[in-house]
């Protein structure tokens, strides 16, 4: 067991840190939340700067424009990124964290060459078309149909939680290509250009009052067959490969950020209620759990290095992190007292808009497999407990 970063890692750290110290302030303040064009420009502009400096796609292969970093360099990357409070991945989220990695693992050479560099350069924004109104936790129950018609699929269906659908250029789309097969065996994974006729989008306001989410309706949309990723009807396996990546190291950055937030809360406590032992005790409990999560990231990274694939333990990380985050921001909001009753930045001396961020964390235990789904996965796949009768 060894927790020491190599000299090369540390070298990378200081280079990246120096770059961030200049680049982050230079990128300026983000646009207003409802300025969608401005947000796209800001998010993809930052992505382009990362790319130009050689910091985009830290763990993606070099041949497609990535950095091809080692696992530990990746960790250093997330640490420094969070420490510098660099811009959130924002509208690049699906492409960078999900669609791109899926293409790397399962895409054709042509698909990789077409999309990966453009995602890294901020030229392509992706959205996700997985969930449907009746297929949420039970994702495999999806019913959006894709019927082969010559060299195209004709796609019809109703998707939901399609973040940034109105701004996106492409959609990673799960469709049912074999309605007669068992529900996990008739699903395919398509790259759908968002400019095709037949696609309409209706924004959904979140509980923060933002419309980052949308519903997407497809009516007889003609998607070229070459946009199929992997074999037809093999989409469920592909989805799981990607979800497994999503549940793994993607959290590293967020955990580090949580630790930074705790440090700022600690300063707030010191200033407001330095004598209150109960606040110290809660802060310490939360920080201890965050420390343990950070150690668990490194432990799971060691496992991945050993086996080459992220283990099932990602579910444990996701479950623990999302539940902890809610507790931390809830505590932060409580600490602010009545100031938490405003979401304006000016009212939160911690600088984190704690109560607004707390609201945002409420989605963490729901999205990408709710806490209940994660517990089922852990019990069944890791601990070997039997499924419930249906």
């Amino acid at each position: 067991m060894d927790l020491r970063y190599s000299d090369a890692d540390e070298q990378f750290r200081s280079e990246f840190r120096r770059w961030l110290e200049a680049a982050v302030p230079a990128h300026g303040a983000p646009p207003a939340r409802d300025d969608w064009d401005g947000r796209r420009a800001w998010d993809t502009g930052w992505q382009r700067k990362l790319f130009d400096a050689g910091y985009a796609g830290v763990n993606w292969p070099r041949e497609y424009g990535g950095r091809g970093a080692t696992l530990t360099e990746e960790l250093v990357y997330y640490e420094e990124y969070a420490r510098a409070k660099a811009p959130y991945v924002g509208m690049n989220f699906v492409g960078i964290r999900h669609g791109g990695p899926t293409l790397i693992a399962e895409g054709s050479e042509a698909q990789k060459q077409t999309h990966l560099p453009r995602i890294l350069r901020g030229e392509e924004v992706w959205c996700q078309g997985f969930s449907e109104p009746v297929a949420g936790s039970d994702l495999a129950a999806l019913s959006t149909r894709a019927v082969r018609d010559g060299d195209h699929y004709r796609v019809s269906g109703h998707k939901i939680w399609t973040s940034f659908a109105q701004q996106a250029d492409f959609c990673e789309l799960l469709v049912r290509t074999d309605p007669d097969a068992p529900k996990h065996r008739g699903i395919s994974w398509l790259i759908m250009p968002m400019n095709l006729p037949g696609i309409s989008v209706r924004p959904i306001d979140t509980l923060r009052g933002e419309s980052d989410f949308a519903e997407m309706f497809c009516e007889d949309v003609r998607v070229p067959c070459e946009n199929l990723v992997g074999p037809e009807n093999d989409g469920w396996r592909i989805t799981n490969v990607t979800l497994r990546f999503e549940r793994g190291s993607a959290w590293a950055q967020d955990i580090f950020e949580l630790q930074e937030y705790l440090v700022d809360l600690s300063a707030l406590v010191a200033q407001r209620a330095p004598q209150d032992a109960s606040l110290q005790s809660v802060l310490g409990q939360l920080a201890a759990e965050a420390d343990a999560l950070w150690a668990l990231v490194k432990w799971q990274l060691g496992e991945t290095a050993k086996t080459g694939v992220p283990g099932l333990g990602g579910s444990a990380l996701k479950l623990a992190f999302t539940e902890l985050t809610q507790r931390v921001y809830e505590f932060g909001a409580r600490l602010l007292g009545r100031a938490a009753l405003s979401r304006d930045a000016t009212d939160d001396p911690s600088g984190w808009r704690s109560s607004d961020t707390f609201l945002n964390t409420l989605s963490f235990t729901i999205a990408a497999g709710s806490s209940q789904v994660q517990r089922n996965l852990i019990a069944e796949r890791i601990l070997g407990m039997p499924r419930e009768p249906r």
Binding site: G209, L336, G337, R338, A340, L341, L362, S370
Partner: protein, 342 residues
């Protein structure tokens, strides 16, 4: 002893409920958000007797007790009725026009920190960002300020100096960020301030209880109709056990809240300050945890603006920051353990 609603109380509850369902059923909420405090229904509320419940009949009030007030406030909490409800009720005997709803009274709690309590009265100015946020500050006629040394009345007339918060946490509770409070007049002593805090805390618990009840109902109804994996999610043990725990919290909150109200009316049956603090602790937990679980049970829909659960969580956070947070009430209960009243 007969710790159940009597017939009159049941009738009062039914009356307030009918009005709330008519005025504030969820489908109308989008409209209410546009103007959360309207004189029109404020007067209707007054006509229902909600603000005048406790004022003596000689003063044009209804002459009932805190028990009845709590019963009414649970209903208001259930339907997220906005406005400085508890302040208007507390002011019924102090400020002419409050009982009839013609004058809208807001409020501000200004406790001195423990280490500053000894030196003489501090100026009645906001000391930090949070203390300067006044609910409905742009729409109230009068501001009641509770200080450790007394009660102040400040004329507001919808013109308190300050800026409106752009994004208030609760869309139904607009906030005015006040930089400097105008001069006021002292209309009551420290004992009155203490009494109003207790009564206001009891009413806050009632509103919180309403949230706990409503979020349980919404969650159970949604779980019964939402299907996943080929069955209603209400048949999954995880969801059932969430709901059972919500039910337990609601029951504890109801018993404690009504007991606190009854104790205020009849202090011979217990220690008022302990009963109020205990009720506030369990009602706060019930509202908070039930609203959280309601969102979780709704799943993705729970994270949307168009569904009810988030309104309840946000209102709960407002109420949990009214007249002291739960931990301070825990400390009050602990102090009573150390020095029992009898």
């Amino acid at each position: 002893m007969d710790f159940q609603l009597n017939e009159d109380q049941e009738a009062l509850r039914a009356g307030v409920r009918v009005w709330c369902e008519d005025r504030f059923r969820f489908e109308k909420l989008a409209e209410v958000v546009q103007q959360p405090l309207a004189r029109e229904w404020w007067r209707e509320l007054a006509e229902l007797g909600v603000f005048a419940l406790r004022a003596p009949e000689s003063a044009g009030g209804v002459g009932l007790g805190m028990a009845e007030a709590a019963v009414a406030f649970v209903e208001l909490g259930r339907r997220l009725v906005p406005g400085p409800l508890l302040w208007n009720l507390l002011a019924a005997e102090l400020i002419p026009g409050a009982a009839s709803g013609e004058v809208i009274v807001g409020g501000l709690d200004q406790p001195q920190p423990a280490d500053r309590r000894r030196p003489s009265a501090t100026p009645a100015q906001p000391t930090d960002a949070g203390a300067a946020l006044i609910e409905y500050g742009d729409a109230i006629d009068v501001l009641l300020v509770l200080r450790d040394d007394g009660v102040q009345r400040i004329e507001a007339a919808g013109q308190l100096p300050g800026t409106l918060v752009a994004e208030p946490l609760d869309p139904l509770t607009p906030m005015l960020r006040v930089s400097e409070l105008p001069e006021g007049t002292i209309i009551g002593d420290a004992a009155l301030a203490a009494r109003l805090r207790l009564e206001g805390t009891a009413l806050t618990s009632a509103l919180l209880l309403g949230i706990a009840e409503s979020t349980l109902e919404y969650a159970v109804a949604y779980a019964k109709q939402r299907e996943q994996f080929g069955r209603a999610i209400a048949s999954f043990q995880a969801i059932k056990h969430f709901a059972a725990d919500m039910y337990v919290r609601q029951e504890l909150a109801r018993a404690a809240t009504l007991a606190a109200a009854v104790t205020i009316d009849d202090p011979a049956v217990g220690d008022v300050s302990r009963a109020v603090a205990s009720a506030r602790v369990v009602a706060g937990a019930a509202a908070r945890e039930n609203a959280r679980k309601c969102i979780q049970i709704y799943g993705g829909m729970g994270f949307t603006w168009e569904m009810p659960p988030h309104y309840y969580l946000k209102r709960c956070m407002v109420l949990e920051n009214t007249l002291g947070q739960s931990p301070s009430h825990c400390t009050t209960v602990a102090a009573h353990l150390a020095a029992p009243a009898s």
